[in-house]
């Protein structure tokens, strides 16, 4: 990426104004899901004992729009301000989620007074795509002269197929959803930096290619740390400045390893939802931000870091000032 400094560059603020989540009430032990999707007892033991997984929030009868709609229902900050929403971005891990040409995103918006918004899906960063969507929202809003202009980032997906149910030897997916209002003129939760590291050489069938899986697992912590350090450096922050790290919920083991490697206290990595919610694709970061704010883990002026990785492979980190 080119230098951020320079004459004629549009200054921008990307602020996360409000976050809402929807966690389906149906909590299922990983063994029940594992049996349904064909995981072996050995694999399930690995997920529970080594990776620290326990329950998954799923909505067996709900559709994709049901998930996103429920997240929007929990976002009172949107009500009465729909006309200010310029963009709606679905941050989606799976590039294809419904049969063509169905478009539940647009159907949903029509029923929520948001049909005027420019709505699209951003994808190919797998479970790291939520951070990209926030960054895109800020860039789009930077060109809007209206300080009240908003962008709405939605995240949440169905576990409809094998690739959307399990990451081999790494994690099992859940169906939490989130909605985030982004604006270009907010004081709270301002994004300070966003770093992305991509490794397309890891695109492939991890389930069938043991060598690829081994190389991916070996490189994973290195590249994740590289993205984290880049985000911190860009923001002029040190790890000791961070009140919390909000990870994606793929598992506990990888974050334990990363926290140890960078020397960051594990108790400040928000891992609670790995156990109780599961890995909800790109919604994890926002679900964990909601957890951190509602539990009082973040105070005004605190710095925190959101980090996520997605198969394919993308590693992203974003530093934010509360």
């Amino acid at each position: 990426m080119c230098d951020q400094a320079g004459v004629g560059i549009l200054a921008r603020v990307t602020a996360l104004e409000a976050v809402a989540v929807h966690l389906p009430p149906h909590a299922v032990p990983i063994e029940a899901v594992g049996e349904r999707i064909g995981l072996t007892p050995r694999q399930l033991r690995l997920f529970r004992r080594f990776h620290g997984l326990d329950q998954l929030r799923l909505d067996p009868t709900g559709t994709l729009p049901d998930l996103l709609e429920a997240a929007l229902d929990n976002l009172p900050e949107l009500r009465g301000r729909e006309r200010h929403v310029r963009y709606v971005i679905h941050a989606r891990s799976m590039p294809v989620a419904v049969p063509y040409p169905l478009n539940p995103l647009h159907d949903l918006l029509a029923g929520r007074g948001l049909a005027h918004a420019n709505a699209f899906t951003v994808t190919h960063h797998a479970c790291a795509v939520g951070l990209l969507a926030i960054d895109l929202a800020g860039r789009l809003l930077a060109a809007d002269p209206d300080p009240e202009a908003l962008a709405l980032v939605l995240a949440g997906e169905k576990t409809f197929t094998k690739d959307a149910q399990v990451v081999p030897e790494t994690g099992i997916f859940a169906e939490g959803a989130a909605a985030c209002l982004v604006r270009a003129d907010g004081e709270r939760h301002r994004v300070l930096s966003f770093a992305v590291r991509q490794r397309p050489e890891f695109d492939g069938r991890l389930a069938e290619d043991a060598d690829l899986l081994a190389r991916y697992q070996r490189e994973y912590p290195n590249v994740m740390v590289e993205a984290i350090e880049a985000a911190l450096a860009e923001a002029g922050l040190d790890l000791s400045d961070l009140a919390a790290v909000l990870p994606h919920n793929v598992n506990q083991a990888s974050w334990r390893m990363i926290a140890r490697r960078i020397g960051y206290p594990l108790d400040k990595v928000v891992l609670d939802n790995v156990l109780s919610v599961g890995h909800s694709f790109a919604a994890d970061s926002l679900i964990n931000l909601h957890t951190a704010t509602t539990r009082g883990l973040l105070r005004r002026g605190d710095h925190y870091l959101i980090a996520a990785a997605g198969v394919g492979a993308t590693f992203s980190a974003m530093s934010v000032r509360c």
Partner: protein, 259 residues
């Protein structure tokens, strides 16, 4: 740099026949079976057996290399598509980034019908405006095969098609994108936009605009292929350009001006 915007400096378009080996990958059957099951849509067993359809990575990689033959570094690669890839779960944009000099940030936009192509260009311009991109590659792709019966009428392309647009910071006409969801009537909006560009404006209009009716042979890439063919002459003549597309299904009017 202060006065230089992002402009389209190179545009290459190509149509392809043939198929990808991925069209016979058993994973494709698993994916589309799971995809359509909740909707009760029948699979196209004939296409799955025969092996029909192409992957955006395979279709575009040669064209991306051709467009970037000068070897200059790329900051951003955005893939836009409407119809699904024959590798529906694959991050093709990341794979395509390997065909670019440099290490561009790569991602894809979709679920916006023909408007997704305009959104990709808009995002490229926004990356430039916010200091994160001096050279972007926008890849537009469509392929012919849908491996199930769609829930509604769809206009699939007659051939696989790819357009590669290289956008660079440079003096000269810069690009601006306007998108109007629910635009009625689109022709009035379009006429006003064209009038602003003046009498010399060159127009490239998608299906359903300016009297053009009937399904296009290449619904997603067609207007961009026409732009690719004619842009060098228009740029040499110094003419402003307006590219417009109307996605009737979603009701989105999109306009790109190069002026």
């Amino acid at each position: 740099m202060a006065d230089h915007g992002l402009r389209i400096t190179r545009a290459i378009a190509r149509c392809f026949d043939g198929r990808s080996e991925a069209s016979l990958d058993p994973d494709l059957r698993v994916f589309v079976s799971d995809l359509v099951r909740p909707y009760g849509l029948p699979l196209r067993e004939d296409l799955l057996r025969e092996g029909v359809g192409h992957s955006y990575e395979e279709l575009a990689e040669g064209l991306v290399r051709e467009a970037l033959v000068d070897g200059e570094s790329v900051d951003l690669l955005i893939l836009a598509f409407d119809t699904p890839d024959v590798r529906p779960g694959a991050p093709s944009s990341l794979a395509l980034s390997r065909s670019c000099p440099g290490t561009p940030l790569a991602f894809a936009v979709c679920d916006q019908g023909s408007a997704a192509a305009f959104t990709a260009l808009r995002l490229a311009a926004d990356y430039h405006r916010t200091g994160a991109c001096r050279r972007a590659v926008v890849v537009l792709a469509e392929q012919t095969a849908l491996h199930y019966e769609p829930a509604g009428q769809v206009a699939l392309p007659e051939r696989h098609g790819v357009v590669v647009l290289v956008c660079e910071e440079a003096p000269g006409p810069t690009m601006a994108v306007h998108q109007i969801p629910g635009s009625e009537p689109p022709d009035v909006v379009l006429r006003m936009q064209a009038e602003q560009l003046g009498p010399d404006a060159a127009l490239v209009l998608g299906p359903g605009l300016g009297g053009a009716e009937g399904p296009a042979a290449q619904p997603f890439t067609g207007v961009w292929a026409e732009l690719a063919e004619r842009l060098p002459a228009w740029q040499a003549q110094g003419r402003p350009v307006l590219v417009a597309g109307l996605d009737r299904r979603l009701g989105v009017l999109s306009m790109l001006t190069l002026a």
